[in-house]
Amino acid sequence: MTERLIEEPGRDVLLDIYRRANLIYQADERFRAMILGGQLQIIYYSPRGQEIVSAATMAALAPDDYLVTTYRGVHDQLAKGIPPRDLWAEFAGKAAGTCKGKGGPMHITHPETGVMVTTGIVGSGLPIANGLALASQLEGDGKVTVVCFGDAATNIGAFHESLNMAQIWRLPVIFLCQNNLYGEHTPQAMSTGCAEIIDRAIGYGIRGVQVNGNDAFAMYAAAREAVARARAGEGPTFIEAKTFRFFGHLLGDDSHYIPAEEMAAAKAADPIPAYRRALLDRQIPEAELDAIDAGIAATVEEAATSALAAGYPEPSEIRVDVLAGEIAA
């Protein structure tokens, strides 16, 4: 009997990742259709192409582990478990949304599923993730904090201050750089002095792992190892997950700055069908995957429909949640 170097996740985990990834995939399709169809008026940062990074990472977390993410965060939020119905209502600015319509797509919070902060400021989630992890370390609650950000965030000061602080304090935090190779419209090579973003870990003495984020097996293994180390008090990990985004910086961006052959190659390696093929190769019945897809379709339909039908917040809500007490009219 031969031992495998890396043990593959079990069937339940594989299907769990499939479910999370395809919820993102279908939700994104629907969001784009609704925006382009005029049913939703929002600035939208599509996660299409990055689904596996989130799905595999969140599958390696416990439900009460903390997540901090960024404006391109809907994949992280859905994968972490925010009910699509609540998320959709927030995207639509409705009172039934996760944040009562006060946050919107760029500021999703849902502590029930561990989603503590979504920031619209590049790099700003990292210092806050350290604080969540510090609380866990002091509390001894065993929770791990994952903070997601893009490659361009590694050029802002907060990134550097945060990796340094996390390492000197051995915080249970995972810095997950979803490297989609472009910061807004600028390619990595133009904006970043080092050839590989993972090399930045060296300067802070922090453990760094570079992984193909579109490979669910590699991504899950990297996340699982980082989570285990963090829980065991062995400190932070910086993961660079290589991926790609198919719909530019924001919806409506025609990606003219991305060479056509680069985009074509990325789409040919689309992680969603690739992962489905990987599961079929492992003798998971197609009918089972189809049934999961159908269930997700029903969930997305219900979420989208209910968000449109839901009511807007009362104008008087402007005076609530500014401070602990209501502001006088």
Binding site: Y66, M116, V117, I121, P127, G131, L132, L138, D321
Partner: protein
């Protein structure tokens, strides 16, 4: 009766008073943690020694010396606060908060609202500043108006050591983010020691001196100046009431309006640059509510429109003065 009960000091300076407030808060609640540059005892207990002795008493896990990384310090305080802790971040000097403004303005101030009340950020940022000690342009600015203008933040400062102790405790217990401003020049100033357990509620002004003719409204280091002027003008037959706001934002509007309704005259005083300062907001409020009964336009006293200079001669030219306060009072009296 415990024979070893220590004799309580009758006088206390700002450093001792704030230290006592932090000490009491840490003893009362294990979720109170301190973070900042050099704040643990091995690094000196803070550059102004305000946190001296606390790491020895509560441990280095709760009193954490940090790298010189203001964004990381305030961000860590935001994250820990969301997770249920009550962090007190020391940002050595107020100008350094400029480095961390993103965390203060975009995150600490707004997360309660943007999350629809699901999270809140009960942190305190302690920070020292003030002109008159020769620190020059980047270590002396009074920036309270910046923070007062951001919905979601509370801005607090004390005019005497007892209030400093009472206010820092209230800031730590408050569920909203508080900016607690300490005055560099005043740290060594002593005043009556606070009684054990003394706290000062946020949002509540104090009548520092009662008077009939004119109300002087201020906060922090302006109050001792206003009281000295009021005392001196007593001889000229002018009765000056002094209102110490204590909480700059949100300030005690009712206390201001009640006093000015009584006197019919008002002077607003602060060390911060006069233009676009907190005084403009207070002056406007008074005019909006009491225009018909005011005996004179509200006067504002503040420092000159310039960066804080280094040379003592220039620094004096920059700073507001007691003469400015008395001149403003006389203008409201038509003299």
């Amino acid at each position: 009766m415990n024979a070893e009960t220590p004799v309580r000091a009758t006088k206390m300076n700002f450093i001792q008073a704030i230290n006592l407030g932090l000490d009491e808060a840490m003893a009362a609640d294990r979720r109170v943690i301190l973070m900042g540059e050099d704040i643990a005892d091995d690094q000196g207990g803070g550059v102004f020694t305000v946190t001296r002795g606390l790491s020895a008493k509560y441990g280095a896990a709760r009193v954490r010396s940090t790298p010189i990384s203001e964004q990381a310090i305030v961000g860590a305080a935001v994250g820990a606060a969301i997770a249920g802790y009550r962090p007190v971040a020391e940002i050595m000097l107020m100008n350094f908060i400029a480095v961390a403004m993103d965390q203060v303005v975009n995150h600490a101030a707004k997360l309660r609202f943007m999350s629809g009340g699901q999270t809140h950020v009960p942190l305190v940022i302690r920070t020292a500043t003030g002109a008159g000690v020769g620190f020059g342009g980047q270590h002396s600015d009074m920036l309270e108006a910046w923070f007062a203008h951001v919905p979601g933040l509370k801005v607090v400062t004390a005019s005497n050591p007892a209030d400093a102790k009472g206010l820092i405790r209230s800031c730590i217990e408050d569920d909203d983010p508080c900016i607690f401003i300490e005055n560099t020049a005043a740290y060594g100033t002593s005043g009556p020691a606070p009684a054990p357990g003394y706290t000062v509620p946020l949002g509540r002004a104090a009548v520092a001196r009662e008077g009939r003719d004119v109300t002087v409204i201020g906060y922090g280091a302006a109050i001792p100046h206003a009281l000295a002027v009021a005392q001196a003008m007593q001889a000229d037959g002018i009765s000056v009431e002094v209102i110490d706001l204590r909480t700059i934002a949100p300030f005690d509007e009712a206390a201001v309006l009640v006093s000015v309704a009584k006197t019919g005259r008002a002077v607003v005083v602060h060390e911060a640059v006069r233009k676009f300062g907190v005084g403009a907001e207070i002056s406007s409020l008074i005019h909006e509510h009491l225009f018909a009964t005011l005996k004179a336009p509200v006067q504002r006293v503040g420092s000159a429109y310039a960066p804080v200079p280094f040379s003592p001669v220039l620094e004096k030219a920059f700073l507001y003065s007691r003469d400015d306060i008395s001149a403003a009072i006389l203008r409201t009296m038509g003299r």
